[in-house]
């Protein structure tokens, strides 16, 4: 079990910088998600933690020891590859026992350990089968078995569910999370699926173009995105972002959206210019008395809720409201925003510090 600290980690491939300067901490026993769009440097970051790629600069501490230049075999970590990378010339049992054999563990002990792991994963019946005939889910379990069998200090998983069918993925996600809760080992998990990250993670790091955009608990990241990128990337539908020109002074508690005064959490780091107003769809309410108005142009029925799309003077706004509220396309109505939940972003895309988000954003 271990804490992992990443400090100013950087990786260049020739002239291309895949990871700029990442810093974050994975606490002992945490299920930690590395989230970001494809090509943002998640795999590269994970491979540096594993020792499969050496960083250009920066430090990696696993359990207090600086390991950034150590080879993978000396880091006591387990890695689950995206395509599982089961040794195709070995059967299931051999695959799972392989890491133990390298440690020179006695045969009987290896056998016992493999049986125990197979029991946990429910693959006892497969132990003597070749890996080539296994289903995706079973391959996944064997890959996990190979990872957990030697009790490493941490698990690194690169999109481990990416190769599975959608329906099976959900099931495996639950299984993985349950396994983690049972073993309590520090896990760093890479995914590009924000829903998966929110569902499974204790903490999330959101990356984009090799830059760490935000790092924190799923709820905090969802409620208080640090940048417009995070606001757009997390949540489905994403946060509504409306650009407007205004001055948001220190201590201000409202902004003007197209002449409508909207209450916002008290601003602590004022700025001016082209600002962005952000509000989650569930914090948009239909209220004919509200000054900011829009015309309904679409509605999507989602069972318990529906998503209403409004055309407003500053752009489209989506609202998530109860499914039983009757709305008419074409109707013009007022939009009331939950003032406590509003985020404002400076022209450079970073969130303005406010009374509401300072706790979340000030730590880093």
């Amino acid at each position: 079990m271990a804490q992992i600290i990443i400090k100013n980690l950087r990786k260049e491939f020739g002239a291309f910088t895949a990871v700029q300067s990442s810093s974050f901490t994975v606490e002992d026993g945490e299920f930690f998600m590395l989230l970001g769009p494809s090509g943002c440097g998640k795999t590269t970051t994970l491979r540096m933690i594993a020792g499969l790629e050496l960083p250009t600069s920066g430090e990696i501490y696993i359990d207090g020891a600086e390991v950034s230049q150590k080879p993978a075999s000396q880091r006591d970590i387990a890695f689950v590859f995206q395509m599982f990378a089961l040794y195709p010339h070995m059967n299931v049992r051999k695959n799972i026992s392989y890491p133990l054999v390298s440690q020179g563990m006695p045969r009987a002990q290896v056998r016992a350990k493999v049986s125990e792991v197979a029991e946990i994963l429910g693959i006892t019946a497969l132990l003597d089968k070749p890996v080539s005939g296994l289903s995706g889910g079973d391959r996944q379990r064997v890959a996990l078995g190979r990872a957990i069998v030697r009790d490493p200090s941490c698990f690194l998983m690169d999109e481990p569910l990416g190769a599975l069918d959608a329906e099976f993925r959900e099931h495996m996600a639950l299984e993985l999370r349950a396994l983690h809760d049972r073993m309590g080992a520090t896990t760093v998990y890479v995914t590009h699926d924000q829903l998966e990250a929110m569902q499974m993670g204790d903490k999330i790091v959101v990356m984009n173009h090799g830059i760490v955009e935000q790092f924190g608990k799923p709820q905090d990241i969802y409620d208080w995105p640090a940048t417009t990128f995070v606001a757009k990337f997390i949540g489905s539908p994403a946060m509504n972002l409306l650009e407007f020109n205004d001055v948001a002074g220190n201590g201000a508690t409202s902004v003007r959206l197209n002449d409508a005064a909207i209450d916002v959490p008290e601003i602590l780091s004022g700025t001016n210019g082209k600002l962005t107003f952000g509000v989650r769809p569930e914090h948009v309410h239909l209220d004919d008395a509200a000054p900011y108005r829009g015309r309904i142009i679409a509605s999507e029925y989602l069972g318990t809720t529906q998503i209403i799309t409004f055309d407003t003077p500053l752009g489209a706004v989506k609202a998530r409201i109860k499914a039983d509220v009757a709305v008419r396309i074409g109707e013009v109505t007022g939009l009331r925003f939950d003032s406590r939940s509003i985020s404002l972003f400076a022209p450079n895309g970073h969130a303005l510090l406010s009374k509401a988000n300072q706790k979340v954003l000030s730590h880093g």
Binding site: S73, F79, A85, Y87, H89, Q103, S132
Partner: protein, 312 residues
């Protein structure tokens, strides 16, 4: 990779089967003729019209493995009765066996040189191909092209320089010299073929092994090699076929100690130029090792010669 091919109909299978069998028969004909000739008497072998049905004889094989000398009928009569069947056969021609022929030695030379150079080519080729496939090698593409370019002219084009060089170095007519020569010729093929195979093995397997606590060499040895087995086997067959059949350099560079079977077999025909059955017997036996080797590795060969295009 996946592509769909419609299952051929029964009729198509029949036609394909008949064509394949017909082709096989045509290509096997010379082979069958050689094998048959090995069991003819010298007279039958050159009979006209050619004899398809004949009384089998092991004379060819006896002549292949023995040296004989002619004796006068009086001396022959004075000898004690023949002890073995081959003594008997030889005496019908007024000859006696004076000792074994050189065929056994030449055959052994072929085996040593053929398998020795094949082993070296594949061994060096695998290591080089792995390095080219997995590591950053400065000027990699140029080096690979250079290696390939050694095959762009027929090897025999450099025969004279090699002949002179070998004489200087004392490598003429030595096993080592021939092994090195055939290895040099085969290495470019071996590096290129094997690089293709190793490129196809996902690097994740090795990385998984590294993480599982193995060294780079162990990962190579225990994970990459078993998976490159197909490529190694088919490369080995290609290398062996070349080294086994090579004639021109063997004629030029070997004459005694290290002479291989190909330049030796034609000399069996003897002064009278009549002993075709012995030549045919020598050729027949010469085919055996490579056939055995190919049959042993056939499982790999089929996938190997399609150069990785057929995947499971």
């Amino acid at each position: 990779m996946s592509f769909s091919i419609t299952e051929p109909s029964n009729r198509q299978k029949w036609i394909a089967g008949v064509l394949v069998i017909a082709y096989a028969l045509i290509t096997l004909m010379p082979l069958a003729w050689i094998i048959a000739t090995g069991f003819k008497t010298p007279a039958d072998a050159i009979a006209y019209p050619p004899k398809v049905i004949f009384e089998p004889s092991v004379e060819g094989y006896v002549n292949l493995f023995t040296s004989r000398s002619r004796v006068t009928p009086e001396d022959l009569a004075a000898l004690p009765p023949p002890e073995t069947f081959y003594d008997e056969i030889v005496r019908q021609y007024d000859m006696v066996i004076t000792g074994p022929s050189k065929y056994g030695e030449r055959f052994l030379n072929s085996i040593i040189i053929g398998f020795g150079s094949t082993f070296l080519s594949v061994f060096l080729g695998t290591i080089a191909a792995y390095a080219f496939s997995r590591f950053k090698v400065p000027l990699k593409d140029d080096l690979l092209f250079f290696i390939l370019s050694t095959r762009m002219m027929p090897p025999i084009a450099v025969a004279i320089p090699i002949f002179l060089m070998y004489r200087q170095l004392g490598l003429s007519d030595t096993h080592l010299g021939m092994i090195l020569l055939y290895t040099a010729v085969n290495l470019s093929l071996s590096v290129w073929l094997l690089k293709g195979f190793i490129d196809e093995i996902p690097i994740e397997y090795e990385e998984a092994a590294l993480i599982d606590g193995y060294t780079r060499f162990q990962a190579f040895y225990k994970v990459v090699l078993p998976q490159a087995a197909t490529g190694i086997a088919s490369t080995a067959i290609f290398c062996l076929i070349f080294a086994w059949n090579e004639y021109a350099f063997a004629v030029l560079l070997t004459s005694g100690t290290a002479q291989t079977a190909p330049p030796f077999i034609p000399t069996i025909i003897g002064a009278g130029g009549k002993d075709w059955p012995a030549v045919a017997a020598g050729a027949t036996l010469f085919l055996v090792p490579i056939m055995v080797f190919t049959i042993l590795l056939r499982k790999h060969l089929l996938r190997g010669i399609t150069f990785g295009a057929v995947r499971k």
